[in-house]
Amino acid sequence: MKLSCDIDVKHLTRVEGHGNIKITIKNGKVQEARWEVVETPRFFEAMLVGKNFENAPYICGRICGICSIGHTLAAIRTVENGFGMKPSAQTAKLRLLLKHMETLQSHILHVYFLAAPDFLGVGSVLPLVKSHPDVVQRALRLKLLANDICDEVGGRRMHPTRTVVGGFTMLPDKYALGQFKSRLKNCLGDLVASAELFKTFVFPEFERETEFVALKGEGDYPFIDGDLISTDGICKAEYDYLTMTNEYMDEYSTSKLSKLSRKSFAVGALARFNNNYDFLEQTAKDIAEMLDLRPVNHNPFMNNVAQVVECVHVVLDSIRLIDELLGTEYGPERQEVTPKAGLGVGAVEVPRGILYHCLEFDAEGRIKRADCVIPTSQNHANIFHDIEDLARFCVEQGKTDKETELLAEMLVRAYDPCISCSVH
């Protein structure tokens, strides 16, 4: 058994945003083990006050560079819920397709560029360009496809331009959609190869019993629309999000933190998988089985694997959506918007977990108050408690300082944290 170590990681690399890991072990006892969020706050909730509703999606998208589409869609849903609007079936399909492609883009970026280097013993994807050229090319091919579809549907892969309250400014070209359908079909081979790569990775056998929170599926694996559920048996309506998030502050973090039935909970790919396994496409279930991932799984490192499984699901569901879009004549791209005083809440499953926006409007549709609860801020407390447990696990396993440090870093990376997003 190892006796003492002092780990102090300042500004962890290969994650979005700024966070530190601190672990001190003396005489075989964990003295302290924590995750600190030191990101600068940007005050988006204040920025929005006094602004007309049309600003909300545009400004909220800027909360995050990686999940700007998710934030934009959440803000749009919030405004539409607030004004009592319902998107047309066509708009709902296009938004879901766009959402799926953001999920694919974000998951591929994470599993290949941010997580995989640890499992392959390198510091970044750069050395892999020479040592594993086929792996890097495959990752780029998948990311390019996802981003190309985001460009066509959302107008732009980052900070989308066509997505507005009421629908879209422009509809995607149907010929282009047909082409994308073939590319999506062809990419399934790349996804199977991705799963085979992950099959070769050794995941730490670390588990901590966790409450997982996600949208509730009603026939479909849910991304937009649905009640809020947890694996501890909680179920709430979307507008009741505050009772699911229970935000508080502590001394180590500039991000707000959340809790529900226990001292912390988790959201994200693994949380969605654990709550909504039944609604996954069969091929995605087969890939999960091949990678030894079964619900309910309490190993946080397996979030990487759940992301690979979700990539398969969103690609198959996107093919279905494109088929449906190609099978019907386009209706109008957007509907009239009539502002209304009141409160809107929008919950959307973005790559890192469930995201909530809440906006209060005056009669002219100006924002009186704004609240955004970010997936990573909901995960921070869980990461914190995982690190405490992981430190004890490393002591028991007699891990060296270097091994403990790497495992702690890999644990945080497994959550795919979007830290600047969480502080916003």
């Binding site: 600068t40 940007r42 920025m47 400004i59 560079g65 700007s68 941010l114 970044s124 994807v125 066509r162």
Partner: protein, 264 residues
Amino acid sequence: MTTKQTFLGVNVPKPRVAFFELSSCEGCQLQILNNEATLLDFLSMVEIVTFREGMTEKSDEYDVAFVEGCITRKDEEQRLLTIRKNAGLVVALGSCACFGGVNQLKNRFNDLNWVKKEVYGDHPIDTQEAKPISTLIDVDLEIYGCPIKKEEVEDIVVNLILGKSIDHPKYPVCMECKAKSNICLFDLGEPCLGPITRAGCDAWCPSSRLGCWGCRGPAPEANIKQLLHICNEREIPMERVMDRLECFGGFSESIEQLRRTEGR
């Protein structure tokens, strides 16, 4: 700089490049990874020595520093001064670094205590007015946009390596939009800052029928008065024009002037 690569038979340097982020969404750095088709070519032109979002290795020895984000806290000022000391060339990457970006929207309340309380209640939190990086250090080059356009970054880096001059377009987005034969947003009843915003994005937003929000800041000799006249003529509410003018901080001088004259 190492000189292993050649261009038309002439040796060209391979600069050591570092990426840093202050208060931002880190989207501009993500854009660097976002041109998958040319990414490997781009990476072969430079030697990336620091890129915290993407790699574990880091170094304090670099020729070019790309800085994303604006200043909103004391520790960011310290980091920025160190970057300036280490780098031969400092490039402001994106609207946050160039103008403060969306982050400067909090400045408009002129009341940081209210801003803090609105978001964090009574919990103590450290922040300052959002400022572009040029308020603290000399900036050698600015790359505009929210987000930046990767093709533009690729051009600029190639020119930098070849020692060619780097010139931003002097004409506005409107010219690029006309050249693409887009439907004019004004004809659709939408406000658009295309007539006054610096070009270089190839009319990115108007080509998707979204009026320009001015993320690249004013074109030289931007005629804001005439833009307001056009909007007025088409009965576009002043509030919608102001929302766009103040969104990214590039038009902050005009906004101050307008607030004084309009009493807004």
